[in-house]
Structures are given as structure tokens and as C-alpha cells.
């Protein structure tokens, strides 16, 4: 259970990105977070693994208070939270395998990793993760030589290396074409169904949220505007979330 209690974030320039967010997310749920750009989706996801420090409130995961964790504890917490990004955030000059192995850094002895030594068992684990997302044959290619969809799958494989219980996906398909989007979403669905990983995924397209998620949370100006089943979002709700002039665009 992930509990978000009264979480707020005010940036140093005074912009209030999150305004008193309260959410409870049971384990194993696939949650889609929707909302306009600037509604606080990315900030909320980053507050959960403290890439951004919230200015108020608490985030409790199981029996751990994430918001109170000191640096060294935070690293142990982050090990169990995978994250994938809109821009994939791969090291483009490194090989696919190295990128995937990076996901294991929290577990590897720091002395080993500074000497650039990877235990063979970890290498096998990385190959298995790559096989799972279907690009094992690209292991020794440079990350930059892969297509967008493949790069995002490398991102998923990297997160898999963490053996995560929770996966944060920050608009994972926003830079991909519709067909590739579905393939990436299906991998996330697979992790959710097979491994029981809780998934928090921010999305631009409502149709994707409808197709893959168990629950939709809509943010507007840093507040929760809607929280419920995907099927409950009708035209009126849609306009509440996206504004009066919005028209829903389908992605198939």
C-alpha cells in the first residue's frame, strides 16, 4: 500500500505544482495518471521516489516513511522503485547491456562498480531482463543506435534489474508512435499482471489509460480532479479535466 498524505510541492520560484494530494494505492494496481501539461503528474511521480522533495505532507510505503528517509535509507528505498521516463534517459554512448546493468547499481558493491567489474550473475540477470522485453540480440549495440520503442524497452529492462515492487512511468509513450506505444504499454501490463508490480503511469492519451489501467487519477492544477475507474470518465468529466475546449483524441 502506497499512502500519499497531504503532499504539496511549491517550487523555489513560488509555483505550486502539487496542492494537498491524498491518495491510497493498493499493491498490484495499474494506475494511470492523466492531466494537462503542468498539472503536476511528473512532480507527483518524482515526489514518490524523492527525485523531488515535497515541501509538505508524507508518503508512506508499506511501513516506511519515504519522506523522512535520510540519504542512505533513501537509496535502499529507491532500489525497490523502478522508474521509466519519457526521454528514456539512457546513456546513449554506452551499450544496451551497460545501460541495463546500471539498474543494478544499488545492489552491486560500490567498490566493484567503481572498478567497472560486474559479477557474471548480474550479467545473466541483465540478459534475462533484455530477453523479457524482446531485445536480447541488441545487448552489445550502442543505446543510441536503437529506435525509440526499443530504447524504452531498454529503460524497462533497466528498471526490472531493480526487482521493483513499484514502477513509476513518467509519460513512457509520449515520444513514441501509436503502434510502438501499445507495445511498450503491453510490457508494462505484463509486469503488472505477471510480477504483481504496482504501476503508476502518467499518460497523455485517455484511450491508453482506458485500455490498460485499473484506475485513473486525473490531476488539474496540482489537485486530484478525478479518481475512479477508467469507464467512469464521460464527456463531462473529460472537459472538467482537460478544459472546455478539449477534444478527445483516440490512439489505436
Amino acid at each position: 500500500m502506497l499512502k500519499i498524505e497531504n503532499v504539496s510541492k511549491i517550487y523555489e520560484n513560488g509555483f505550486q505544482a502539487l496542492d494537498n494530494i491524498n491518495l491510497e494505492i493498493p499493491d498490484g494496481q495499474f494506475v494511470a495518471i492523466i492531466g494537462l501539461s503542468g498539472s503536476g503528474k511528473s512532480t507527483l511521480l518524482r515526489c514518490i521516489n524523492r527525485l523531488i522533495d515535497p515541501t509538505g505532507g508524507r508518503i508512506i510505503w508499506g511501513d516506511i516513511d519515504i519522506t523522512a528517509a535520510a540519504d542512505d535509507e533513501l537509496r535502499l528505498i529507491r532500489r525497490r522503485i523502478g522508474m521509466i521516463f519519457q526521454q528514456f534517459n539512457l546513456v546513449k554512448r554506452s551499450s544496451v547491456l551497460t545501460n541495463v546493468l546500471c539498474g543494478r547499481l544499488g545492489y552491486i558493491n560500490p567498490v566493484f562498480s567503481l572498478a567497472n567489474y560486474v559479477p557474471p550473475s548480474e550479467k545473466e540477470r541483465a540478459m534475462a531482463a533484455l530477453k523479457r522485453v524482446g531485445i536480447a540480440e541488441k545487448a552489445y549495440n550502442r543505446a543510441s543506435s536503437l529506435s525509440g520503442g526499443q530504447q524504452q524497452r531498454v529503460g524497462i529492462a533497466r528498471a526490472l534489474m531493480q526487482e521493483p515492487d513499484l514502477m513509476l512511468a513518467d509519460e513512457p509513450v509520449a515520444s513514441l508512435d501509436p503502434a510502438t506505444s501499445h507495445s511498450v504499454m503491453r510490457y508494462l501490463e505484463l509486469l503488472n499482471k505477471e510480477d504483481g508490480i504496482t504501476i503508476l503511469c502518467s499518460l497523455h492519451f485517455l484511450s491508453l489509460a482506458r485500455a490498460y489501467s485499473d484506475r485513473v487519477i486525473a490531476l488539474k492544477d496540482g489537485r486530484v480532479e478525478f479518481d475512479g475507474l477508467p469507464s467512469e470518465i464521460d464527456n463531462e468529466r473529460f472537459r472538467q479535466i482537460y478544459g472546455e475546449d478539449a477534444v478527445e483524441v483516440e490512439i489505436h
Binding site: N49, A70, V91, G106, P110
Partner: protein
Amino acid sequence: MIKTDSRSILRRIVILIGVLIGFVIIAYGWTVTQINLDRPQEPVRQQNVTNALRELLSPNVFTQDYEIRSNSTSILLDCPADGTVPEAPATPDDGTPYIVVTPTCASSGDTVTVSGYNFYPETLARLNWIGSDGERRIRQVAGSRDNNFVIRDDGTFVAEIEVPRIRGSSGETHTIEIQDATPVGAVRFSDTTALVMEKMVETIFLALIATMISILPSAILSFFAAHNLMRPVRMPLGSLLIAFALLPIGWWLGTLVLGAIGTFAIGVGSGQLFNGSASTLFIALGAVVATRRRSIQPESFGLRIRGVLMTALIAVIVVAALGLLGGVGILIGTLWRDGLPGYISTFVGSLGELIQLLILPISGITGAFVFATAGISLTRPALKAIDMPIGHILGAVLGVICGALLLAFSATIGMQAAWLGLLTPIIAAAMGGAVLPGIYNRLLPSRPAKGSFKTLLRLIGAVALFTITFSVLKVERAIVIGALPPTNAAFAIGEMVIYEYVFKAMTIGAIVGGISAGFAGTRAQFPVGEVMYNTTRTILNALRSIEPLIMGLVFVIWVGIGPFAGVLALTLHSIASLGKLYSEQIENIDNGPIEALLSTGANRLQTIMYAVVPQVIPPYIAFTMYRWDINVRMSTIIGFVGGGGVGFLLQQQINLLRYREAGVAVLAIAIVVSILDYASASIRERVT
């Protein structure tokens, strides 16, 4: 009809005024730089510059040996009255040079024609008249302005000379001699060229060594000078203050304990090569095994203690291994003397000695680091549990200690030179800048100071603290008179004497540190990264603004004239310059991977290793090449201040007005610089 826009007219006026101001500035500059159009037109100067340029452009690169040969023929002074003409001597037909004079008799003042055959083409020659008295008189050839004339390109010449007036030698046979300079042996490089080449090699290696040495320090510094890496680094004030207060204790214990271990290890290593290297290997393996740990649960205090002991163990192992390496190095240094093994042995031995020199400071730094991290780790749970009022009291206490330590340190530096005394007021001002906004925010927590009001508060605090510290420490006395602070002891702790000057600074530091940390409390997040970034940047910028030539002057005093001084000067400047360039490359990288790696639970060092390093390697190579290129240029002139290399030679030749020799050096510099310029540009193009 064109509409006149008043704003556009105003704009034009502004532009016009700008141009006028620019004109005045340039006009003033013209006078200041003493630009004078008459001087270059003075004939003497023109003649001088023409000569100098001519010699510079005729560099003395090649040389060939010459042999002065002489051939002669005879001539009768005054033809006999009977009209008989002496017979010309027989001419050889074996290709050896010979001369013929026609007619074979002549009177003083007559003009005779001398022709020669089989001479070395296009060399200089001169004609001598050797009278019956045996005296040699140079005869100028008609049409030539000096004593020499040039043999034709077919090896012949025809020259007319006037018969000299030699009293009392009528009727006697005189000799006409030709002396010509015939090249012998192959064309070869002149001695100057050999010297210049030798110095050029020295120059190139001077630049190479300076660049190589500077890579590691500047790469390390560049991470501290990169804003994107340092900005997010924050630390609770309590942890920071505890760590800072432990630094001197750690330093002291480090030099004592670790220093002894390191010195002992050097002794072992330099005594026995095999044992030394074997135990180095063993210790390195031990380090890896010792740090092998599956999981950390910092919540448990026992495990925290274990972590601290582990850090201390690693520190001991690292210092011991370094000491052994140094010792083995010193031993290797004594193995060979000559040839390639000799160079390597000297180099490795030198590195060993360097480790020996540095083992105490390294031990101190390591000890300080161990103590600081131990302090942070062990006090973290306690600091987290502390409530607000106690947190402020503890903050005040720690603030007093740390403020006193910081200003004591800066005041000790300030006692070394008059203007270094400014350091203490500046640091005090930086601390003072934090006091007023801190107090204000604590008194009015609902309306925290923001924007320009906060800046104003900071400014007031900083100026006030600067002024107070400046007058208390009487820094103006030091600056105006150049006098160092008096060294009156206030009191002594054991052997360490605390001077009054330092004590005054400590008092100020204690007061300011106590107030600001007390108001902030131990839980406040302190921007450690920002402070380190600013400090590193300031030092790098200050170092970069001092030209290597000036640094060279100082190093020549320290290590004497020669390339070593040049290496030190260029290294220091390269560290500053490369540090800045490298850090800008770090700031240009894609920050996405850093975020991604931090989110996987990697620590900061791992993040840098895997997300930053792969991205900056190509630009680092490019900028290192670029710096080598610059260093070669610099090293060609560092010799002007005694820093070795070709510049030293160039300066000597110019001072001796030997422009042909100077020309060789100039030519060599031009060739080497342009080759390197091209090479570095093409390598840079390839890696980026």
C-alpha cells in the same frame, strides 16, 4: 508620407552617442598606446628593421664546409723593350682549375684580363696580386663593389684588374693568385639547428608532461565546478557541522596513525621489492573482500558502527597500499641507471618519492574524511530524533565550534602575507550574509524574506561583518604598511600556540557561527554543493587569470631556471583552465541519465561513474588535445622567463642580435605549432 516615430529617432540618437563614445575611447587608446606614424618612417629604423627581417628570413638552418683553394699564374711587370712577350705558362688539360692572364706582361695602371676555367660554379672568389716582395694585394675586379666576385655557372670567369703600382719591381715576374671557396662534404644542419631541435624536443615534452599531469587534478576539480552536479547536494546543517568539527581531529589522528602506517609501508616496500609488491596485491585484494557486503540496514546502530569500522579499515588498507606502492617505486628507482630502463626507473622512483612526500597529508585528509563520515553516520539517528528547541541549542554549540575553526584556519593563512589577511573578512562576510535572513525568517516564519528584500538583508549582514572583522583584525594596517599581524601568543594548547590575531578571528567566527547555526537549527538543509561549487569556481578563475609566464617567474625562484619550472607553471595554469573547460562539458551533458541512475538507488559516485563519465569522455579528450596545443605555444615562450624550452634559446639569440640563429628557432616554432594545430584539430574532429 513617412511617419516619424519618435522612439526610432531616440534610438538613432542613442546609437549615434554610442558611436561617438566609442570613437572617443579609441582616440584615447591611440594616445595611450603611443601610436606614432613618424617613427616607422625614419630611415635608420627602416634600415635596421630591413636588416633584422632579412636575417630572420635567412635562418641559419643548413651549413657546408668550404675549402679555400688557390691557383696562380705569372705576369711580367713592364713588357721588355724588345717587344718580346713572355710565353704563357702551360694550361693543364685534366680538368683542374687554372687561370690565364692576358697579356702576360703589363705596366702599372694597365688593365689586364684574368680568365679562369674549371672552377666550382657560383662560388665566391678573389684575386690577389703577389709582388716580387711577396706581399699579397687584393685586386678589386672591375664592376664589382667589394673584394669578392662570383664564378659563373659554367665554372669560368673573366675579370679585369688593374696592375698595381709597385715601386722598384719593374722587369720582375709577379704572381696573380685566385683564392676561391670550394664546398667540400655534404650539406648538413648547422649547429644552431641541432641546438634548436634539441630544445624543441624539450619544449614539446614540457607541454606534454604539463598537460598529462594536469588531466587528473582538473578532471576531479571539474566535478566540483559543475553546477548541475553540485546544486542538488544538500546536507542537514547538524551533520555538516559535526563533520566539520571532526575534520581537525581526524586530520591530527590521521597524520599520527595512518601516517605511521604509511611510512612503515614505504619502509617495507623500499626494503624488499618482492615482499612489497606481493603485500600490495594482497592488501588490494583484501580491500575488495573487506568491502564485500550484501545489504546495509543503516537503521540498526550496530550496523552503523560496522560501517564506520569498515570505512576506517579501508582507509588503513588504502594508505598502507599506497605506502607500499611508493616504497616499491623508490626501490625500482635505484635499480637501473642508463638507457630506457634508466628513464623508467628514474620516473618510477620519482613517483615513489612523491608518495613519500605526500603520505602525511594524504593520511591527514583520509583521517579527516573517515572521522567526518563516521560523525555523520553515527549521529544521523540522534539528529533525526532531536526536537526543535534542542536542535537550535545544539546548532548554536556546533556553530560556535565550526565558526571558530573556520576563521582560525583563514586567519592562520592571513598571517602569511598582507593581502591574504582579506580572506578572513571575506569569509566572515559570507557567513554574515546568512545571519540576517536567518534571524528574520525565524522571527517571522509566516512571511519569509524573499527576492530583493532577502538580497538586501544579506548585503547588510555581509557588509557589516566584513567591516567589523576588517577593523578588529586591523587588516588596513597590513594592507597599507605591508606589515604582517604581530605574533603575540594569546594562549597555548600543548605545543600549539594560538596567536592573538587568530584568537580574535576565532571569537568573531564563534559568535557569527553560533548565531546563524542556532537560528537555523540542526535540521536546516545546507547547500554544501553550492558552496563547494562557488569555492572551486573562484579558485579556478583566480588561477586562470594569472598568466603562465608570471607563474613561471615564481617557479624559477623555487626550482631554478630550466624546463622543470616551465612544467610547474604550465601545469598549474592547465589545471585551472582544463578544470573550467571540463566542468562546462559536464554542465552540457544530458541530465536524464543522472536522474535515471539516482532513481535506481545508485549512490552519487556510481551515478557520476556511469551516467556522467561516458558522456564527457569525448569532449575531455578533445579539450585535452586543445590544451596540449596551447601548452606547446606557451612553452615556446615560457623560456623567456627562464622556464626552459626553445624560448630560452630564442631570447638569448635575440639579445645577442644573432637574428639568423633566432630565425631558426622562429622557424622551428612555426613548424611545430602548425603541425600540432592541425593534428589536434583533426583529432578533436574525430572524437566529437
